[in-house]
């Protein structure tokens, strides 16, 4: 338990400001006892005096902090207020968080996301350097203005005023005022000089406290409103079916067959050629290219189950299009591997002369493959849209709300000033909800049924088969080892569709191996790909860390020692520290019975070409394989270096979860293709680990370097788990794992 007091729901309201004015107000049901459950609900009039778009204070001391990072479970709606509170010196129990309205951002020229940065409204990175700086300044500035207002009230110098726990004290006389008593006055004050936030050594909240998350209370009684839970007057439901072969087109359907079914209101179609677009420069941070509408038919009914039953009964024919040429996953994997023999001239990284491989003592070469995988967030895709002649309102569990806001405008052909984006809570995202393509489909459906809010729901099967998957990647890695066994040169040839240029973002390619060439080529696959927790990284960490293990074996060295030697000159001491910590805590090198083994791997997400950036995670997996080939992962140990942490328990929670996510990715996940169609539809075919399948997961904090950064923790843990397990399997059985999912491998040994 944290050091902060428990907070009751009444003290803690997590909500978001209205963006739709009276309209949004009118849709809040009177019996909605808990304001905080509907994040778009209006707080105008509740929030009090506005100090800046980020912060308002009421006469009774309630501090509203507006958060521009949608909450996907990573705690951003708690972390952001903590950062502000550090400087504001307010009573933590008086803080409420709400969502910073995307529509306001547009109306007020980017007050929350200046410069259209992709991270401006992104759901992660609440502790990135620019955000921390901004939020600390927001808190410090408000505090100084409150002090200045108190000084003016008492007609004393500001230097005589102290601020603590939402109380202003005139130190010489002991007189006090509450923040709320001077808030209105303070909000009008403009400081001559902005205060400098205090040094980290004086922090009392950040790095010290681990409060319970602000929305926990609403989660545990089921009142938190996710996109799926949006309920509006006159709302209707749509069940959606898109072309089962990605890129295919609707050929025909027979609405007459279902029109008389109970509750059915309409059968509508979505045609990607009907997107009207906007005659203005897009402000979508990721553009519209990854958000195209998919050819679809939808049944609209009074209730969801009616829509679903009618959709199931609806006769539909499709033109499959070019994607149907891909008859099987095997055919696609073969095509990817074959492409590696004709390396691309598209060079991603070249240092020194990689041709020196052939003059080395030993050559290590292997081909690795990772499959299409679905993010599979627990909340199936869904969005609600109300399209009328003069405005569009959308309710969306979006991971990048500015992106989705522009996509909605584009699909409605409506000026963005008339688009009102209502952010809901989000039942998991993992990259699937970044591009706003889900909202585009909902708007495309709703515009065919104007005047009533239409809640479009993807069935689990529809969501799984209509993915934006982690790409299928085949990579050939080749290294030449010198006399000492260390790699002198290496080459990576990659073949994929929807390439993420991330493979070279590792110390191996950035100096630890002197001669490097990395190239990549796109494959003509029809399967739609996108972001998946740690895009690119989630494949390359597996490939490279398995390959390094193979190099260590060829050199006759211990895989830990080999890596330590490789990183000896790397100018980020975190790598060595992480390796040593995880090796020490996991008992690396201990004697294990036959059939058991340990494997190690280390990777970094977010370094973007430079040392001491992003987060480095080292993992040791301890596994056992029966002779018949049944794998048991006994234990996962991990150490990490994100620099420093501002919230110990939140960091622990994210790393634990990320490791388990990475475990499932490596053991279980694969989307297959048959005759162009995606095969897996639900959790019976796309298995996810459960409590009983989850090994002991130990997260160790001794790898933290203390470097001055608070790097992200969402993506990084997912990378090194798979290779650590694969390397452990090798040590247990002698079988090398060069592709995932691991469950498909025959691990039997004699």
């Amino acid at each position: 338990m944290g050091t902060m007091p428990n907070l009751s729901r009444r003290q803690f309201i997590v909500t978001a400001a209205a963006v739709g004015g009276g309209m949004a107000l009118s849709v809040v049901p009177a019996e909605a006892a808990f304001l905080g459950t509907e994040p778009w609900a209006a707080s105008d009039g509740l929030a009090g005096a506005e100090f800046s778009p980020w912060i308002s204070i009421t006469p009774d001391d309630v501090v509203t902090v507006r958060v521009a990072t949608p909450e996907i479970g990573n705690g951003v709606m708690t972390q952001t207020p903590m950062t502000v509170a550090e400087e504001l010196a307010c009573d933590w129990s008086k803080i409420r968080a709400e969502f910073a309205p995307t529509s306001r951002d547009y109306r007020e020229n980017g007050v929350y996301a200046p410069g259209n940065s992709p991270t401006g409204y992104f759901s992660g990175r609440s502790t990135s350097e620019d955000r921390m700086k901004l939020l600390l300044q927001v808190g410090a500035s408000a505090r100084e203005r409150l002090k200045t207002a108190a000084a003016a009230t008492w007609k004393v110098p500001v230097s005589e005023i102290g601020a603590k726990d939402s109380v202003l004290t005139h130190t010489p006389t002991g007189r006090t005022l509450r923040y709320g008593e001077v808030a209105a006055k303070a909000a009008t004050i403009k400081l001559d000089v902005e205060p400098t936030p205090k040094p980290q050594s004086e922090w009392t909240l950040l790095g010290k406290a681990t409060p319970t998350k602000l929305n926990n209370a609403d989660i545990v009684n089921g009142s938190l409103i996710y996109g799926m839970d949006v309920r509006l007057p006159n709302m209707v439901y749509a069940a959606l079916r898109q072309s089962p072969v990605h890129g295919g087109m609707l050929k025909s359907y027979d609405a007459e067959k279902v029109k008389s079914m109970p509750g059915v209101l309409a059968v509508v179609t979505v045609d990607p050629r009907e997107t009207p677009g906007l005659a203005m420069k897009s402000g979508a941070p990721f553009g519209y290219g990854d958000t195209h509408a998919r050819s679809a038919v939808a049944v609209i009914a009074e209730h969801y189950w009616q829509a679903r039953k009618a959709l199931d009964a609806l006769p539909v024919e499709w033109d499959d299009g070019a994607g149907a040429q891909w008859k099987s996953t095997e055919q696609m994997v073969d095509a990817a591997i074959a492409a590696l023999d004709k390396p691309s001239e598209s060079i991603e990284k070249a240092t020194g002369d990689a041709r020196l491989i052939d003059s080395q003592d030993k050559i290590v070469e292997a081909v690795y493959v990772t499959p299409f995988s679905d993010q599979a967030p627990m909340e199936p895709l869904n969005s609600t849209a109300l399209v009328t002649a003069d405005r569009v309102d959308v309710w969306h569990p979006g991971q990048q709300s500015r992106q989705a806001f522009w996509v909605a405008a584009d699909e409605a052909g409506m000026d963005p000033s008339k688009v009102f984006y209502h952010q809901t809570f989000i039942g998991g995202a993992f990259g699937r909800r970044i591009f706003g393509d889900d909202l585009r489909m909902a708007v495309a459906v709703a515009k065919k049924f104007p005047g009533r809010p239409v809640h479009t729901i993807w069935s689990r099967e529809e969501q799984t088969r209509q993915g934006k998957y982690r790409p299928l990647v085949a990579t050939k890695l080749r290294a030449g080892l010198d006399k000492t066994g260390m790699p002198a040169a290496f080459i990576a040839h990659q073949a994929t569709k929807g390439h993420f240029p991330r493979l070279a973002d590792t110390p191996y390619a950035l100096g630890c191996i002197p001669n490097v060439r990395v190239d990549a080529q796109e494959l003509p696959f029809h399967v739609i790909t996108g972001a998946y927790r740690g895009p690119g990284y989630n494949s390359y960490a597996f490939m490279i860390e398995t390959f390094i293990d193979e190099c260590a074996l060829a050199a006759g060295m211990d895989p830990l020692e080999y890596r330590l030697k490789l990183f000896a000159k790397w100018p980020d001491p975190g790598w060595t520290k992480v390796l040593k910590e995880v090796a020490d805590k996991s008992g690396w090198g201990k004697t294990l019975p036959k059939g058991a083994g340990q494997g190690i791997a280390i990777a970094n997400w977010g370094m973007n070409g430079k040392p001491q950036a992003g987060t480095t995670v080292g993992v040791v997996a301890t596994v056992e394989v029966t002779k018949s080939g049944i794998l048991k992962v006994h234990q996962i140990d991990a150490a990490f270096d994100c620099g420093r942490v501002v919230n110990h328990d939140a960091a622990l929670n994210l790393v634990q979860g990320g490791l388990i996510f990475g475990l499932n990715m490596a053991l279980n996940e694969e989307m297959n293709v048959k005759d162009g169609r995606m095969v897996e539809g639900n959790f019976d075919q796309y298995p996810i680990l459960r409590t009983g399948d989850t090994p002991v997961v130990n997260v160790h904090f001794g790898g933290l370097s203390g470097h001055d950064r608070f790097a992200e923790l969402g993506e990084p843990p997912a990378g090194p788990v798979g290779p650590a397990i694969g390397n452990a399997i090798f040590r247990a059985t002698g079988k090398r794992i060069r592709s995932t999912p691991i469950r498909k491998h025959d691990l039997s040994w004699a």
Binding site: N6, I72, N216, E379, N653, F661, D684, I688, T691, G692
Partner: protein, 152 residues
């Protein structure tokens, strides 16, 4: 035709197709959205409710067989979030995105009412819900802590 339901002790009359899953009756007809749709095929457990005290996946319970029984949903687990598991879930920061946690809590509560001091194996078999965020270690720890608390 109309069916009479008892949900969290309250009587409701719902006029819908008899095959409508209880999940959608709760969410859509009764506006009780705490019970979540995750998979629709009894795999994930996000829709777990109690029927006469026994955990059930409401996506597989047709309206016609939900009549005449006592249904308890997450909204009725306690009147004021005072169930020990709810309190521990908050205190121990169990949730991440939280979407699966209604079902997790209902499964865990049913387990504790049947086996007040469960072993790890009991937890594995009774609380086999899917959580994509990977909160399993905390779910397990919170159940054990609740069990320990009830003994004290």
């Amino acid at each position: 035709m109309p069916y009479d339901l008892t949900v969290n002790g309250q009587h409701h009359r719902v006029d819908a197709d008899p095959s409508t899953p209880l999940l959608w009756v709760l969410r859509d007809h009764l506006g009780m959205t705490g019970t979540k749709y995750g998979c629709g095929i009894a795999q994930c457990g996000a829709c777990t409710v109690h029927i006469d005290g026994t955990p059930a996946r409401s996506c597989q319970v047709p309206l016609e067989s939900a009549a005449g029984v006592n249904v308890t949903t997450i909204e009725g687990l306690s009147p004021d979030s005072s169930h020990p598991l709810q309190q521990l879930w908050v205190e121990m920061n169990v949730p991440q995105c939280g979407y699966c946690q209604s079902g997790m809590l209902m499964a865990a509560a049913a387990l504790l009412s049947k086996i007040p001091n469960p072993t790890d194996q009991d937890i594995d078999s009774y609380v086999d819900n899917i959580c994509r965020c990977g909160t399993y270690p905390r779910v397990r720890a919170a159940i054990h802590k609740a069990a320990a608390g009830s003994k004290a």
